[in-house]
Point group: C3
Chain length 352, copies 3
């Protein structure tokens, strides 16, 4: 079950600049592209003539032309040209999806177009490529998008799955303070480890084994975005409010369901160190993607273990507090959307 | 749903000369081979003892021997030898299929053997390897055989899918005359583009951009064969009946269903240019297979788009006129065959 | 349908010494490993927290730690540690399986743990690495474990599938004597070919084409083990009881179901030639694995032919005598186990 009335990342702008992007979203084939005017478009990737993928055609000034028999479609999905005939039948159309550009992404709305409001799209601060250089990547995972969200809402996994990269020790993790609260858009949590060891990947910054205060400020924006604000300072500085020289990271996690069992995991990391480094200092993003690949392998194996399995046999533990709230927030929205759909279906037809 | 009482290409003669050919046809495992006497045979590729594929055995003088426990079968599917015993049980047999050699192919009859009549097999003219040198190839497609037929019955796709090889311009295509008629065996159409640009692949013959008259004379022989007679002459010559120096091509398209969602697409192209060229002029067939591979990619993607999709949402357009007749001709035959099968099943048993 | 109250090979000791072995057995994900004390353990390979595979974690002194969020489990499947909390919920546990080391293997019991009796595990003689050097290998087959058993219980296949390696001629095979008897544990057979040609792989020992007496003494131990005692002597010596210089082989075949359609085929061959050779004579096992790969290809193709097929169309022949008894012995045990399970389910609850 998916929440349809919501914005999801359909593709990066860079992907769409490069080609007509064919992507299955919530089991629907979609083509995302720029038309000749530079407007972003998202249409059903299945021509209404013979079912050919429009993504094998080419963009036109105002829409797209099918590469099989040449029918043309506009941004709204209506057919504007059929080779060899002048009459366009009324049912000559494909589905069209509301679509928006924001940050490094093209966002798509899979539900009722009337309800689409671009104000609901997540902000991705900070948009400052000098002080906060950023990079993004995408993993196509054979795992439910919900599992990826769950992974992020329980950071205790860093001490195990990522122990040789970004994880703190088990005891530092067990001693973390954790504040969780529901918000209008989902769930927030603030997790702080005080006087902790710096993780392996911070060695360049803390080579002497100096103790640090380390925090993670996460906000889940239902249904499928998480904004991460993480940082580290010398031990003792966090509660004093000292942020001078802080090791800061801002990450946007946007997970788009492909099917019930697979998803596209887009992540986008801005690196606040750069404020304290000489301009032009070379940066490497490889370690970031490597960490996410540790998650990817675990998630795909977890997916296999949970198929054909009675999930009611699983248990929740203390570290699940934010994860459980996240699931609740997501389910409430899905149930509400389903109920409203059923209500509309059962409305009596007005007799005239 | 398949039409069973019909001839389908099972394999090329060259394949069968080379090995025991194992091929699934209409979901049935079949082995096609020459016995020691050079007779072509087609049997169920599943030994009646333990289900082993006979295609892993070897041909005998009169039939085949299973490579697992040595049972032997004759051309009619009867068992003639069981190692270690003299008695052959009555039910020791495998299914046998009527089979014929014609042209470059071995043809198989998947229906009632009593109804098989070799006269119904498509002729493939011309059998003249000097004036009409020919070549054949086969593509194993993850697409319904019906989609391949549909592809061929609507040539407007050449202007889009094959625009850089054999396609004419959209306007030449839109101006084509089209005559369609039902025949006893299926559907015929004649499509003529007058005073058109020569397609890219004709550059060798029309290097100066000279205008041409171009025609395609297609006959669909239900259920799964299309005979193509195509040609080109200097603009103006077609209606005058001038064929001197014509660019002529004869192609046999034979599409054999493997499953509902996959097929074997055999094609065989004879090249009439050769009549006007010095004997021994080198020819290349690569471009022909390249064109069919453009179709293959489109068809497999189309297949994916139409699975789990309500095909009644698709629309027909003007260029579909021959395709729609083809589908009608095929469906009529299938419905007739099904009705006759049900009739036979409901015939009362005569009481004696 | 599987027989659950029985020992199956889960893995070789060498595999488990090397890593945490993740293996699906009878559709259940299992992790087999040594804990820090060197005790062998088998647990459900799915953490009770979020379903992560425990096989991606690491062994502890007494059990295993999940690599996702750090929960620890003991050999009996109970949870002994949850990071960040002291209370362990009662339902925090994973399934544990009885497990034993014997011969070169770790054996697992997939049924009622109370019923597990290590005395039932097959002996694998001889454990004498000097006179009887041995080697083992495993094939992961996309074929039912039953088919592998059936393959072994009808040795007439050697003359066809293995004719260029270990097969005798068809006539030698047809003349073989065959004694079959049911045993408490399953079925035994003794198959003797007298005055037969030596097979191709015996050329090193019988280079002059000398005739041999060749025998195969097989015992099926239901549900999934076959012990093979094979040998050859100069023609005429078998009935005289002469075994001096005999070509002897002892093979253990243990086939473990992964799913209904796939299995792990473990085989272990001890070579008695070595008794008559100078110590240190180099041996090659490649030919043994090559022979089993001939079986593997046939079995996987046979599996495909029998899916969606009415197996009642298959027939039994004379050489099936031991195979048929084997199937009967296996089915009886499965039916008995099923009946006993239903009986337990229908026992009235005692009112107090």
């Amino acid at each position: 079950m998916f929440l349809r009335n919501a914005w999801y990342v359909a593709a990066t702008k860079a992907e769409v600049a490069d080609k007509l992007v064919a992507r299955t979203i919530m089991n629907e084939p979609v083509v995302v592209f720029f038309n000749g005017r530079g407007e972003v478009c998202a249409l059903e990737d299945r021509c209404c003539h013979r079912g050919a993928p429009l993504s094998l055609g080419c963009a036109t000034e105002t829409g797209i032309q099918c590469g099989y028999h040449g029918m043309m479609f506009e941004r709204d999905g209506s057919c504007s040209h059929i080779p060899g005939q002048t009459k366009i039948p009324r049912n000559a159309k494909v589905k069209s999806y509301p679509v928006q550009q924001k940050g490094d992404y093209v966002w798509i709305w899979m539900g009722d177009p009337q309800a689409a409001d671009a104000a609901g799209i997540a902000d991705y601060p900070p948009d400052d490529p000098v002080a906060w250089p950023r990079a993004n990547d995408m993993l196509h995972l054979r795992a439910s998008y919900v599992m990826v969200l769950e992974n992020l809402m329980d950071l205790s996994h860093l001490s195990y799955l990522h122990k040789s990269s970004i994880g703190s020790s088990e005891s530092d993790s067990a001693n973390a303070s954790m504040d969780v609260s529901r918000t209008e858009r989902g769930v927030k949590f603030l997790r702080v480890m005080r006087n902790a060891d710096a993780p392996a990947n911070w060695r360049k910054r803390y080579p002497t084994g100096q103790k640090v205060d380390r925090w993670s400020d996460f906000e889940y924006l239902a249904p499928s975005v998480i904004q991460q604000f993480s940082g580290g300072v010398n031990a003792g500085d966090y509660d004093k409010g000292v942020r001078e020289g802080a090791h800061l990271v801002r990450t946007l996690h946007a997970i788009t369901p492909e099917t019930e069992k697979s998803c596209f995991y887009f992540f986008n990391k801005a690196d606040g160190y750069a404020r304290f480094e000489a301009p032009g200092t070379p940066r490497t993003w490889a370690s970031t993607s490597d960490v996410f690949k540790e998650d990817a392998h675990m998630l795909e194996q977890q997916q296999l273990r949970l198929e054909n399995f009675d999930a009611s046999r699983l248990i929740d533990i203390n570290t699940d507090v934010a994860r459980v709230q996240m699931i609740r927030a997501l389910k409430e929205r899905i149930q509400k959307e389903q109920a409203s759909k059923e209500e509309r279906l059962s409305e009596p037809t007005i007799q005239q």
